[in-house]
């Protein structure tokens, strides 16, 4: 059954279709938030809130064929709210962490466990972070992202370009302080290991 048909069934009260729709939104919200915020509790919250919001406003979706773009927009909105709730101060910059632990024997080990991308992504604007997440989590192209964030394709390319520049600056800053080397520029395995992953 295609997406539009499931959406129509969900709107008619079909519980199975509603759960299918809710799962699709929940999953997207959770994934975008985990990617952007690196916090499993927040990711759960974002997924749940996005699913509830989508189910409550499903009747207002005019064209079920455009469900995915509509649901991505809801998820991006929830992601923005979650980021505001958390605030930028929640991330401790790695150079600060390094200074605090410079004399400790487990310094290197401690730093290796840290995920440099999370604070680096926190330096992006909300729109840049949404664009990066939609590209690398959902695999959307420029045109699809443009539909979700309601911008032109050129704007999307510009946002991505600026985001990459900011990430590069952040990474180079960490390299200069000796906090992040080439071997650490990768996602720490199991960085979201606390979350339930279906087998």
């Amino acid at each position: 059954m295609d997406v539009a048909r499931r959406v129509r069934s969900a709107r008619s009260g079909d519980r199975a279709a509603q759960e299918w729709v809710a799962r699709r939104v929940y999953e997207t919200g959770m994934r975008l938030a985990a990617f952007s915020l690196g916090d499993r509790d927040l990711a759960q919250d974002v997924g749940q809130e996005a699913a509830i919001r989508a189910m409550r406003s499903l009747g207002r979706l005019r064209d079920p064929q455009r469900f995915d773009a509509w649901s991505y927009r809801i998820c991006v909105g929830e992601l923005r709210r979650a980021a505001k709730r958390r605030g930028r101060h929640a991330w401790q910059p790695l150079d600060q962490a390094a200074a605090e632990h410079r004399d400790e024997p487990r310094h290197a080990e401690l730093l290796a466990e840290r995920d440099w991308l999370v604070p680096a992504l926190a330096k992006l604007t909300e729109r840049q972070r949404a664009v990066v997440a939609l590209r690398y989590v959902q695999g959307l192209g420029d045109a699809e992202i443009a539909t979700v964030i309601q911008a032109r394709r050129g704007t999307v390319r510009s946002l991505l370009s600026r985001a990459m520049a900011t990430l590069r600056e952040e990474a180079e800053g960490l390299e200069r302080t000796g906090v992040a080397g080439q071997d650490q520029v990768k996602t720490r395995p199991g960085f979201m290991s606390g979350m339930e992953v279906p087998q």
């Binding site: 008619s12 009260g13 994934r31 985990a34 749940q48 509830i52 499903l58 009747g59 520029v185």
Partner: protein
């Protein structure tokens, strides 16, 4: 650090994120929560809500055959469900209950209309801030649902009944009213009783209100065309008797 290294890190992080999925329990909880919040958003606006014990008993009367939704809706009701203004007579500010004014302020518009009435019994329609269509049955019961819900119900059956709703909820009042929605083409509804009596009510804008005595049990609901021809009927004796028995109040 070069661009491709950053790109690789982002790709790896995206792949890790894609491994995540909610559990079935989490999904189910989200759906249930959405439904509960939708109901609460309607109920919380009301004063003197008296729900299941006396009030809203949804009697979904099974009909014969399913028709395409577009063919079954009264045009005025269909227009409302499709996003237009509610059918019937617009309520004046003085007539509009406070809880509806509250909903209108939240929704940013002022459409509320008296869709059907019988004496002091009123069926009022309006739209809430979430785009749901809302129906108030007298002063005690309201419901808000996505338009597709009612469309779906009328596609499956010729009548959708709401009630019986007691005139004075929470009292021993033996008077109440039945509300309902009907398919297009039904101009009048008739409730038949075992002793040969019957009650008629016009189906205005695809809806109706019938004042009833709660102690009497109608046996049949009949839909009539404008020229009096019976188009559909359903045996209510068992269903309504059960509902009425459930809400009967023992006199002190």
């Amino acid at each position: 650090m070069n661009e491709s290294t950053i790109e690789r890190a982002l790709v790896q992080r995206g792949a890790s994120a894609r491994d995540l999925s909610p559990t079935p329990a989490q999904v189910s909880a989200a759906v249930t929560s959405a439904r509960r919040e939708r109901r609460r958003s309607a109920g919380s606006l009301r004063r003197g809500w008296r729900a299941p014990a006396l009030g809203l008993a949804a009697l979904l009367v099974a009909g014969t055959g399913a028709l395409a939704a577009t063919n079954v809706l009264n045009p005025d009701l269909g227009s409302f469900l499709g996003g237009g203004s509610p059918p019937g007579r617009p309520l004046t500010a003085a007539e509009t209950p406070g809880w509806i004014k509250q909903a209108q302020r939240a929704a940013g518009h002022a459409d509320a209309a008296l869709v059907a009435s019988a004496g002091s019994h009123r069926l009022i329609a309006y739209r809430d801030s979430a785009g749901n269509v809302c129906f108030d049955y007298d002063e005690s019961v309201a419901e808000c649902d996505p338009p597709a819900y009612l469309v779906g119900q009328l596609a499956k059956q010729p009548f959708v009944l709401r009630g019986p709703i007691r005139d004075h909820p929470g009292t021993a009042d033996t008077h109440g009213s039945l509300f309902g929605f009907v398919r297009d083409g039904i101009a009048t509804v008739r409730l038949d009783y075992p002793d040969g009596r019957s009650l008629r009510a016009p189906a205005a804008n695809g809806t109706f209100v019938v004042p009833i005595a709660l102690g009497d049990h109608p046996t049949q609901l009949v839909g009539l065309t404008a020229d009096g021809k019976e188009t559909s009927s359903h045996d209510l004796s068992q269903l309504v008797a059960d509902e009425l028995a459930a809400i009967r109040v023992t006199q002190p």
